[in-house]
């Protein structure tokens, strides 16, 4: 009996946390591989419309983004509340879309320059007039492949 007396008075043995870093690193690598960096912060309201017949936009390196929408509340004092275009991190006018596309295209590797897609992330409250102007600009610089980025969902919800 005396042999086993020791344990009775002792506290609970400490749980070894030596493998905790390994677990956390595993999580870290998982998130590093499955996610992508946010490239620019939004300065416009961007509630995308819903559509059901969507295609996935694969290969992020081949996509250029154009954002359109009303400026968010912090910018409304300066820029007004009419829908505006955002390119990278600043507001732009319609005439700047063409040069922006050319500039971004020049940054891409040679073999990707002909397969670029322009993703239009447009707030569902925007007017088509502005979108038509953008499309006209895109045609001028021969960026003909576009993608109207949407959420996946029932398209009839857009009308409400």
């Amino acid at each position: 009996m005396g042999k086993f007396n020791k344990k009775k008075d002792g506290d609970l043995p400490a749980v070894s946390t030596a493998s905790l870093p390994d677990i956390v690193f595993m999580l870290l690598f998982f998130f590093m591989t499955v996610t992508t960096m946010k490239d620019s912060s939004l300065m416009v309201q961007n509630t995308l419309p819903n559509a059901s017949e969507v295609k996935k936009l694969e290969k992020k390196d081949r996509v250029l983004y154009v954002y359109v929408g009303k400026p968010t509340s912090q910018y409304q004092k300066v820029f007004g509340s009419e829908p505006k275009i955002q390119l990278n991190d600043k507001f732009a006018s319609v005439s700047e879309v063409g040069p922006f596309i050319l500039q971004e295209r020049a940054k891409k590797p040679q073999e990707l320059q002909n397969v670029l897609t322009t993703a239009l992330k447009v707030d569902k409250g925007a007017n088509m007039g502005l979108i038509s102007d953008i499309k006209q600009e895109l045609r001028k610089v021969n960026a003909l492949k576009i993608n109207y980025t949407t959420y996946e969902g029932d398209a009839f919800r857009n009308l409400q």
């Binding site: 905790l20 956390v24 998130f31 996610t35 992508t36 409250g125 007039g129 979108i131 003909l144 576009i146």
Partner: protein
Amino acid sequence: MSRRGGPPEVNAGSMADIAFLLLIFFLVTTTIETDAGLDRMLPPLEPPETDVVIKQKNIFTVNINKNGQLLVEEELTQLKDLRAKAMAFLDNGGSPSGTSDYCNYCKGRRDASSSDSPTKAIISLKNDRETKYGTYITVQNELVGAYNDLRNREAQRLYGRDFTEMEGQFLNPETPSRIRDELKDKVRRVQELFPQKLSEAQTSTAN
């Protein structure tokens, strides 16, 4: 001076904290979702050199006004009826059998006053400058949906599976190249049966 039992052990207790810090940083700065949307091709700015004459009956006109109302083939239409109307037009196959345009896979009404064949049929979409973008996307979605429904029907008949599923697998970069090569021909074939001819005319400025 001499150390006993080798070098002293480095305390690794804070390793977990450092790793958590990194983990939280990556969680905050990254997004997990991939974007999805409707793919469209814009027409080139230079008009084609040869002027193509298109018969009026092969054009399906859709007009959206600034209040989001639809005028389809000169008829006021509800948005939910658009897909069925577009499908009826595309699938019509009005050419009589024996002519070169005869469409042997069409299941439509074969109305001589509507489109000749799916390869000839064109949908023309016009919108007002004040049309809401949400409405426009809904209309685009319905028209793309009409094409997809017809393509799915043909793909089911030919290969026993949906066209949209085949195309999704073909476009997915993770699909092995052997399967993609095989799919490529099938996808092409179905696309040629119902080529997507969706013309986006200039926005009307007049009221």
